[in-house]
Symmetry: C2
Subunit: 220 residues, 2 copies
């Protein structure tokens, strides 16, 4: 993850590394080199949140994110009240895989710089821009008649729909789904068909993966 | 989950419930009714693994699973060294959603009755049969020229393949992928295309979800 960080536009404020990590790094930039402090394994274990820390830990400045209309030239994910840090991190990683560069979270979603989110994102957090905003407000001010998608039990079979390469995909909370006051903005309700006799739902990040895959598969 | 359990073929040995849970249950069978013990919230909190236990906890007999050739009349998932309990539980839930009734895990995979697996499966564990066996041995004794699929970086674009409704899908370990000694059994390597500039992999359960979705989508 630190290797991914070094390639990103994040401002690094410190790199605390074992000697073994340093020797594996080639081409680390001069400005970053000044930030490196060599520490002992016991020291790394003390400053890390992980039970078995790797070889390096870095501190970064949390970027001030903002977004303008240009993000809507591509698919945008909107997360409504995602509360599980593992889910948010996994969703960031999924967005990255499918080339979705912008995520807008409702203010009551879990914090994206929560250590568990950062860890689960596996470096994707350094490539995907995550903003927080009132989703209702953002959707009210949308221009260009952008399509807005959401997963609902009464939605259309996603496998049979022709899906566009621009638009907004809303993902709802793990147990409550999409909040009611956003439903009016949805232009097409989608449904992932089940082949089960009993399963009632999919995990939020799993549903996100299947939806993103369906949006992107046609261009392959 | 206890509601799902009551509908399953698992043998229940005890049900420890708050009064509030009992009053919500209609049609609980007589044989199960005898197993119910009403307890206080503080007692439930003491016997539960959860920080915020719900209204009921049940104990069940771990079933003795076995499988015969008939499981190969449908898709079968094979898990090679899946080590994260959350991943295994999520994979069981995904299999259930996509109507895959049998999973075979390598003996060095995480135990499916680990409380975290049970929890993450959200009741799907009561519908999907999970066995443990030496995968190499099982694959060696396969009859009927069943196709065997696995995800590899050099595999074929899964979006462009015609996928059958019978066969084995092998899912590899979270960081190491499919163990080398199984590669020889793979009849078709598949690849989930990435649209990212940097992401190198997907979470094992996310990859499973996309693969299962691709296998099933055509029948919808």
């Amino acid at each position: 993850m630190v290797a991914e960080l070094l390639k990103s536009d994040f401002t690094i404020t410190g790199i605390y590394a074992l000697k073994t990590w340093i020797s594996g790094q080639r081409g680390i930039s001069v400005s970053n080199e000044k930030l490196v402090e060599i520490i002992a394994p016991a020291e790394l274990a003390r400053i890390s949140n992980l039970k078995t820390p790797n070889e390096v830990l870095a501190t970064v400045k949390i970027p001030e994110r903002d977004f303008d209309e240009s993000i809507y030239d591509d698919l945008v994910l909107m997360l409504s009240q995602i509360s599980d840090p593992g889910n948010l991190g996994t969703i960031v990683r999924i967005a990255d895989w499918f080339g979705i560069k912008n995520i807008i979270c409702s203010p009551d979603s879990v914090e994206v710089y929560n250590p568990k989110v950062v860890q689960a994102s596996m470096g994707s957090l350094f490539r995907v821009k995550v903003n927080y905003a009132e989703l209702k407000e953002v959707l009210t001010n949308l221009k260009n008649n952008l399509p807005v998608f959401g997963a609902y039990l009464e939605g259309k079979n996603i496998y049979r729909e022709t899906l566009p390469d621009k638009g907004i995909i809303i993902i709802g909370n793990e147990s409550r789904g999409i909040v009611e006051n956003l439903e009016t903005f949805i232009t097409k309700k989608l449904f992932i068909p089940s082949f089960s006799s009993g399963a009632e739902s999919l995990n939020a990040s799993v549903a996100t993966a299947i939806i993103c895959s369906e949006f992107r598969r046609k261009t392959n």
